[in-house]
Amino acid sequence: MNWHAVKAIYRFEMARTFRTLGQSIAAPVMTTSLYFVVFGSAIGSRIESVGGVPYGAFIVPGLIMLSVLTESISNGSFGIYMPKWAGTIYELLSAPVSTPEILMGYVGAAATKSVMIGLIILATSTFFVPLQVLHPGWMLCFLLLTSFTFSLFGFMLGIWADSWEKLNIVPMLVVTPLTFLGGSFYSIDMLPPVWRTVTLFNPVVYLISGFRWSFHGTGDVSLATSLAFILGFLALCLALTSLMIRRGWRLRH
């Protein structure tokens, strides 16, 4: 195992985060704070509660998940696309590093940033709404699993993309709508039966539901279903990413 390479990639990627601290952390925190102001205070004050949970507190897990998903994809894709775009990828490809080492370095750093952002947003939310986390262990577990899984998904996007437009198109046109429609701001029980069934095909529902369960003890689907989904998606992303790197797809000629 080339641990020196894993550490070098991880440190290098994290150094970029700290160099661009405002962009990396302040921006998502600011955006989420605005959501709290608009949905939590302005609109939320007119909605009494959802499933016995005050609306302001109800949307916290969804808002954290919204940021964690988009940041994980963005960090994961940027980490590998940047060297591809700049041409410095030659060094990674010519180095004695294996696929797991590459993933541990890049995806580990991308997921770390996302977890940091998730926790910062969680801390920020306490300024706006009274909050309690019923199952902190499960909350951390979902946060870590989601961050790693979607950083891996982002990594795949970064390998696939051959332009900045392509890099942004999937998060913008697919992931953000799915997140908004995945129950960030509402319980899917509030939807008409037909739309409820349609929503169950949205994978983000399972992530938000599990994460919300860890906060409030209730979710749209069972904990086991949420966990099985995220683990299944993690396994799929891991298998596909490993295959892409081993074959050198869009990396080696």
Partner: protein, 308 residues
């Protein structure tokens, strides 16, 4: 012969159908400077790419210090350093951060003393905290060399090291390369600058259309293939070569003011004494004479232009 890099029947056909390499075999000797010459699209960069892991081969294999670059890639790659042709750097990083990354990628722990030596040898030490984007093109080229040397490679590939570099820096770079060779590093360079190969290489390989045209010691290549020319400068112009000299292979130079005799290293030299006697006997007044030898560049051009 101690071979450090063995390229065996290497072939590469890209997805487009373009055959970039056609069963190339080549052995590089430990400690030598080997120059690979060839026109654009000849296959030089593909050859380097396969050896360094950037390109997947479609046939053959490469052994770096005895390790297969595909099957035993960890050990093989650890012996190799690559300085790419393009100035591809992490623009927003400092010199120090980027060389540390390179060292780590190649499986080496932090060694500040070694990196300090490398940066000092390349006159980069004062710039260690500078962001790469603030450096000149020549300095960026040095950063790429520093990155390639950060893990003490035994084989160093320099792909067009002097591209876009001014004359002074080019000479500095040659000095660096010679020092590396003195330290036991085997150097394989591709270049368009024949002067560079002529100045530095121990052996020359010429590649064209994906095939290795020849591999020779530089001196023996020039000796074998070099054309020589004897020019006799005359005091008065001639209208034609005198009849008594017609069988000696002399040509009339520009303005009739010189006689030119062409020969090569393989033969013709022994006729020079007789030729000079015959010119004297013909009563020609020649004021000066000079000999010249074709350069590596002329040899290269003649080889790659030969129809295949």
């Amino acid at each position: 012969m101690d071979t450090i890099l063995s390229i065996q029947s290497l072939g590469k056909t890209y997805a487009s159908g373009h055959q970039a390499l056609k069963s190339v075999s080549l052995d590089i000797r430990r400690g030598e400077i080997f120059a690979l010459l060839g026109p654009n699209g000849a296959g030089k960069t593909t050859l380097i790419g396969i050896t360094c892991g950037l390109v997947n081969p479609t046939a053959g294999r490469v052994l770096a210090d005895g390790h297969d670059v595909v099957r035993d890639y960890r050990k093989a790659r650890a012996t190799i350093g690559l300085v790419p042709q393009e100035l591809t750097t992490d623009a927003f990083e400092t010199v120090w951060a980027t060389v540390n990354l390179s060292r780590g990628l190649f499986g080496c722990g932090r060694d500040e003393a070694h990196l300090e030596r490398v940066l000092k040898s390349l006159s980069l030490w004062e710039k260690r905290d500078a962001k790469i984007m603030t450096l000149s093109g020549g300095m960026k080229r040095r950063v790429l060399i520093a990155k390639a040397l950060s893990h003490n490679p035994r084989i160093l590939f320099l792909d067009e090291p002097s591209a876009g570099v001014d004359v002074e820096l080019r000479r500095d770079m040659w000095e660096v390369v010679r020092r590396l060779r003195d330290d036991g590093v085997t150097i394989i360079l591709t270049t368009h600058y024949i002067e560079e190969a002529e100045e530095m290489a121990d052996r020359i390989g010429i590649i064209n259309h994906g095939e290795l045209v020849l591999v020779e010691d530089k001196a023996s290549l020039i000796h074998k293939l070099g054309k020589r020319q004897l020019t006799l400068h005359l005091g008065a112009p001639l209208e034609a070569v005198p009849a008594s000299l017609a069988d000696l292979g002399l040509m009339l130079g520009a303005g009739g003011l010189s006689l030119v005799y062409g020969y090569d290293n393989a033969g013709g030299r022994e006729r020079i004494a007789g030729l000079l006697r015959a010119v004297n006997e013909a009563g020609l007044d020649f004021r000066d004479l000079e000999t010249s030898q074709s350069s590596l560049e002329e040899i290269f051009v003649s080889l790659v232009r030969t129809p295949r």
